[in-house]
């Protein structure tokens, strides 16, 4: 990690031990320089990347890949844009060869307008990829039963959305996320997509999620570098709160300052 941000105790996912609980995407930054500065400010140890068709005259993505490698982070390739299990499996195999990692962020889109994942196809692909030795980070909705199935299929992490990709609306159904965390206590759960503000990250981390993954909220901020740091602080605050056991909510008010010895006390 490039920056000292307390994200709680080290944790393990997909065979790797991490200190940071903040995964960051690499798209939509104003410039490669800002991307690098944001990555360093975030303290992230995991960057997501994609794959697209190569035209031979374009240089083979070499400059982008070299810049990412220079940042010293683990790489989590995605299957973004795939619309079937077969497409996602093939792209995952291509990613494994290019990036030299068994990690794959599995995305199979079911609806182009909302970018809602096709969870049935996701489960089919996750099952095949896990059997093939991949560490599958499965992007899904907040549906509890599908999360259970993905966990049961051997996914390294189940990654429910907070809201549709790129909307920045924050957790639309906190109850569903809270229930998923409670019902899958042993699964690695990472909130992926829909977070817009650091308070959103803090909120889901307080619920006990293991990490958050986001891109647009940092890349499209007015000051991406400062926002990256703000999200890191939000993740750290939420995790610290989770590990500190928040107080229970009460129905009635309870004074913080002792009433005994209060001058002008009208009761005596």
């Amino acid at each position: 990690m490039n920056n000292s941000i307390a994200h709680g105790s080290p944790w393990t996912v997909g065979g790797k031990t991490l200190s940071s609980r903040f995964f960051l995407g690499t798209s939509h930054y104003p410039s490669p320089q800002v991307l690098g500065d944001a990555v360093r400010a975030s303290g992230t140890e995991v960057l997501t990347v994609g794959l697209r068709r190569l035209q031979p005259e374009s240089g083979g993505g070499a400059s982008f890949w070299q810049r990412i490698q220079a940042l010293g982070c683990h790489v989590l390739p995605n299957t973004a844009g795939c619309h079937s299990a077969g497409e996602a499996i093939t792209l995952a195999q291509m990613a494994r060869e290019i990036f030299g990692t068994t990690w794959i962020k599995l995305e199979v889109i079911g609806d182009d307008y909302t970018l809602q994942p096709d969870t049935v196809a996701t489960l089919e692909a996750a099952t095949a990829l896990a059997k093939d030795g991949f560490d599958v980070f499965a992007y899904t909705t907040d549906d509890l039963v599908m999360a259970q199935r993905l966990h049961g299929a051997g996914c390294a992490a189940v990654m429910p959305w907070a809201a549709p990709i790129g909307t920045g609306r924050g957790p639309l159904n906190p109850f569903a996320l809270e229930t998923m965390r409670r019902r899958l206590p042993d699964a690695v759960l990472i909130v992926d997509a829909g977070l817009g503000r650091p308070s959103h990250a803090a909120q889901v981390m307080e619920l006990g999620f293991d990490a958050v993954l986001l891109n647009t909220a940092v890349a499209q901020a007015g000051d991406p570098v400062r926002m990256a740091r703000a999200f890191a602080d939000g993740v750290a605050a939420g995790r610290a709160a989770c590990e500190s056991t928040p107080m229970p909510e009460r129905a009635a008010a309870q004074a913080s300052t002792a009433t005994v010895g209060m001058p002008f006390w009208h009761g005596a």
Partner: protein, 69 residues
């Protein structure tokens, strides 16, 4: 040799390349670059490129790293 048609990254082209590797060289791909190939939606590992033969109508995809979320 006679020309035959394949699809390369969605574009129909005529080629005489007998193998995937020959096609990549013919089209000017830098073989040291980071890219991976699939034929007819099936992954072809890099060590198989020199022997993987092509047929008319094959759909070849070549992908490379880009930014991603």
């Amino acid at each position: 040799m006679t020309n035959f048609e394949v699809s390369l990254n969605g574009k129909r082209i005529a080629t005489q390349a007998a193998t995937l590797q020959a096609l990549l060289l013919e089209r000017g791909f830098d073989m040291k670059s980071a890219f991976a190939c699939a034929i007819n939606h099936g992954f072809v590992p890099r060590p198989q490129w020199p022997e993987r033969s092509l047929q008319g109508g094959d759909r070849i995809d070549v992908v490379t790293p880009i930014t991603g979320g």
